[in-house]
Symmetry: D2
Subunit: 141 residues, 4 copies
């Protein structure tokens, strides 16, 4: 899960009290929320976010999710979530690195894979809709 993407975006998340478990660390499942917050920020930046996906006639469900936890995070800690765009032509693959915003210490790595599904007929797309490719290429240009 180490590859750097063609473009990336950093988002900060401060750990709320209600995400911390009885071991005094962020419960492992809550990171999925942090990833989505970072992914949405990356997609906003690319100009093809969830709302724009829906307008274009597609939803992009997550079909694969992987997380590797290295260090725990705790209440009040400010996390930096770096989201790297890895693939976009056939499916949307994003890598994530969650680190401490102050020290830079690496806490968690993750990846998600999403594919486009046509809202009209529910068909999974084997290649990304052109609007996604255009949005990325426009951003890279």
């Amino acid at each position: 899960m180490r590859t750097r993407g063609v473009l990336h975006h950093d988002t900060e998340v401060t750990v709320p009290f209600f995400d911390v478990d009885s071991i005094n660390v962020v419960w492992h499942g809550h990171y999925v929320k942090y990833l989505e917050i970072a992914r949405c920020a990356l997609l906003d930046r690319i100009g093809y976010n969830y709302a724009q996906m829906k307008e274009s006639g597609y939803v992009w469900p997550v079909i694969d999710l992987q997380l590797r936890y290295v260090q725990a995070a705790s209440f009040g800690q400010t996390l930096r979530v770096r989201a790297d765009l890895i693939e976009w032509r056939n499916r949307l693959k994003i890598h994530y690195l969650v680190s401490d915003a102050n020290s830079g210490e690496r806490l968690t790595r993750a990846s998600t894979v999403q594919v486009a599904v046509n809202l009209a007929d529910g068909a999974m797309q084997l290649v990304s809709p052109q609007i996604m490719v255009d949005a990325v290429e426009k951003h890279l240009a």
Copy 2:
């Protein structure tokens, strides 16, 4: 919040690990989930549940929520959530009593108020749709 309703339903919920906070008790916000699980079970019994509400052309958003916490709950504890139907003719008012399923000790009291909103035009209804009244009266008969 003590009135007993014309009908009630008991639901059991076992506290999962991820609902417990760093003080080792259920985080207060998670009880809203337990209430909805109990409410859905009560509405299933009445025969006018969320799916049936939508089919009938209405959604019933919660407009008022009150919780009074007496005793904390902990990981693995089995809770009984009693949902009492208090009002249904103009709005849907339900009272809840969360207690320990084994000892019967009372832990939390709550109430919710919901009103019907017409899906077609978004208009809040000042009286309950007849289908709700009929469902309750049929059940009480």
Copy 3:
């Protein structure tokens, strides 16, 4: 739930995708999270936050929670949560107003009541520990 407090703090929260339900609005239970984020920011400002509470030998469980929902919120909307300090001498009472950060439209009102519990013996305190009173008075001075 309309009283203004002796001091208040505004916090912004952007509605994440995972807080929105199948009716396309924020599920009512998620507001409890927004309240706590605003409450923690207010307590940070007063100088007696959750960590400082624990260091001082107390936890402050929520014993009463009330929410009144006026307008729904949706994905991506930026909310302003105003937290007003109402009482602090015997118990901690905070009022909340959730509004749209751009239009100022009022969406939800809420209140919470917390009481101090001594960590050493688990005893609920009938008056607030002096450290709370001092923190508020220092801030007001």
Copy 4:
């Protein structure tokens, strides 16, 4: 993620309203909760659950989590979560299969890896504490 374990346990979970997103399916992050419910049930059966782990002086944080989503789940659907014990001597590896409880249709596959951390000194254990090995072997005998 297909290997069957030396022992397994099935748990049923009914999808609550608040786990369903604006696309009308279970938000992908909520499956992490279903996995933990199934894992806790499996560990209860083995006789070395979270409470017993803590009593024995260890916590077992999840260090790796993988999910592969095949079919979506919806509100009210009853899911069967099969948890298979794959490894336990050095680390705890569990595979999961989430399927529709009625039709048996396969919805999601997942795996988690946990390692023992000594509560006394925070040291990650390279082999499982004997109590884990004994619990599994006693159950298999």
